[in-house]
């Protein structure tokens, strides 16, 4: 039931991509997103697709698993396709019926747009598939620590992010438990009209909010008991350190970016 929702969607296998420093993956994802918007020729699409394909292959995450992550963007994809097909008025007309006109340029733009979107989602989800939420926030904290000079509370933001991420599965489990407990007392969450259903949520939401506050309280106490006082002077058990493979990954990334930008100058 509700337990089947996976958030963070980390896929636990050991691969060269999993072992990379999270900062490399964060920067890589950013670079990849930028690269998707700089190229214009067909060659750029080929390079980007090959790049994503290679990373998927190296990451050892099953392709089926990754494709499942595309489901939520399916509707967005469909809309983009339809808008591009029906609203583009360029090139030669292929088909017209009433107010509907379809041009060949529209089909091409729609197709390319769809590829771009799919690559975008694949690229970003690859990062979450291969990096645990904790590594991600660690990477973010270290990667953005320069911003501290202009008084951005980097550590606090990272801490809030990791706490929020950590609490998602806990709250899902809690929801499941309270739902079952109320169902055991005859509560009905699945039938009835809209207003009845909204009312039926009260026995679920009140205990859930109460428990969220209780947990927040406990956590604050536990942190204080461990002398937590913010980020200054705090050391890490596993400090992030760049290794040889991270340098290689950066080289590959910039090579890829160069190729993509270079492909724009090709006569295609």
């Amino acid at each position: 039931m509700i337990r089947d929702i996976t958030i963070g969607q980390y896929y636990p296998v050991d691969s060269p991509i999993h072992r990379l420093d999270p900062r490399v993956k964060l920067a890589g994802t950013m670079l990849f997103l930028i690269s998707l918007f700089v190229f214009s020729g067909y060659f750029g699409y080929v390079i980007a697709t090959v790049f994503v394909g290679a990373v998927i292959k190296i990451s050892k995450v099953p392709f089926r698993y990754i494709v499942r992550g595309l489901k939520p963007v399916l509707i967005l994809l469909l809309f983009t396709l339809l808008f591009n097909v029906f609203l583009t008025r360029e090139g030669t007309e292929l088909f017209s019926w009433g107010i509907i006109h379809i041009y060949d340029q529209g089909l091409i733009t729609a197709g390319l747009m769809a590829v771009r979107l799919v690559l975008l989602v694949l690229g970003t989800s690859l990062m979450t598939f291969t990096t645990t939420p904790n590594q991600l926030t660690d990477g973010l904290e270290k990667g953005l620590r320069g911003l501290k000079k202009i008084k951005v509370p980097v550590h606090e933001i990272a801490m809030m992010m990791s706490i929020a991420l950590r609490f998602i599965p806990i709250l899902i489990e809690e929801t499941d438990k309270i739902m079952k407990a109320q169902q055991a007392r005859g509560a009905d969450f699945e039938s009835g009209k809209l207003i009845q259903r909204a009312k039926a949520l009260v026995p679920l939401l009140v205990p859930l909010v109460v428990s969220a506050f209780r947990r927040a309280n406990d956590l604050a106490l536990a942190m204080e008991a461990r002398c937590y006082h913010g980020g200054d002077g705090r050391t890490k058990m596993k400090p992030l350190k760049y290794k040889g493979r991270d340098a290689v990954a950066y080289l590959i990334l910039f090579g890829y970016l160069g190729l993509v930008i270079g492909s724009g100058f090709l006569p295609l």
């Binding site: 407990a181 007392r185 005859g186 026995p203 428990s211």
Partner: protein, 294 residues
Amino acid sequence: MQETTRDLQECMVLDHVDYVYGAGTAYEKHALSDINLVLGKGEFIGLIGHTGSGKSTLVQHLNGLIAPTGGHIYYRGNDISAADFNKKELRSKVGLVFQYPEHQLFETTVVKDVAFGPKNMGLSKIETDMRTFAALKEAGVSEELYDASPFELSGGQKRRVAIAGVLAMQPDILILDEPTAGLDPRGRDEILDRIAQIHAEGNRTVILVSHSMEDVAKYASRLIVMNEGKVFCDGTPKEVFEKYRELEKIGLAAPQVTYLSEALRQAGVALPHNATTLDEAKELLLADWKGGRR
């Protein structure tokens, strides 16, 4: 089973029940495998097992919150997984008190919260009120708390109110999942005595889920031990605790008093058998002492 001719119409019967979490994914887990049990009317059953042994999953099957992935569960001769089976009625007949039940309280007053169950059953106002007050009394909630907010009560009182919320549906089978978790020794004894009283007065089947051997040995007349999703053994407390060496292997233990009486017997005190409760040990020792003086 002690009774050979038990009327199965009166019982809950589990027939080759299997349950698999997340079948077909990387997280597949066999939570229950091949559970066969007959839970008779009026029994006081202790269900014990280590964390993750499947005991909580098992009790959620009994009131239809989880459907088995294999096998059948029959309540009064009807298959509870059948399409035309009334699950809502089953849930009022098989009352399940979850772990930390006070976390599910939500109403503005104690009375309103306890009335949630009977109200969902579609009972009349008078019937709902009668059941609510009867349940509050049965669970031992004192009268001056009836109109208080459930969030103002102490831990032990909250738990009683939550138990009353299930009792108000007047179930035939009352299942309590770790009802003493997180209570101090006094609160624990009070709740357990209350449960024993509920069992004695109401002619109900009571299933007490616990990992405390002391608790279940004192009250239950039958023990079911779960290990890794299977029934490890099933019998009277005496029969089960005889096998304490096997229990130790699966991370459980017999009550301390059983170990003590075993040690006494090894040291030459002629007890006829090992005791499972403190009272029993007292009787055995007194009998031995009197016998020795004669």
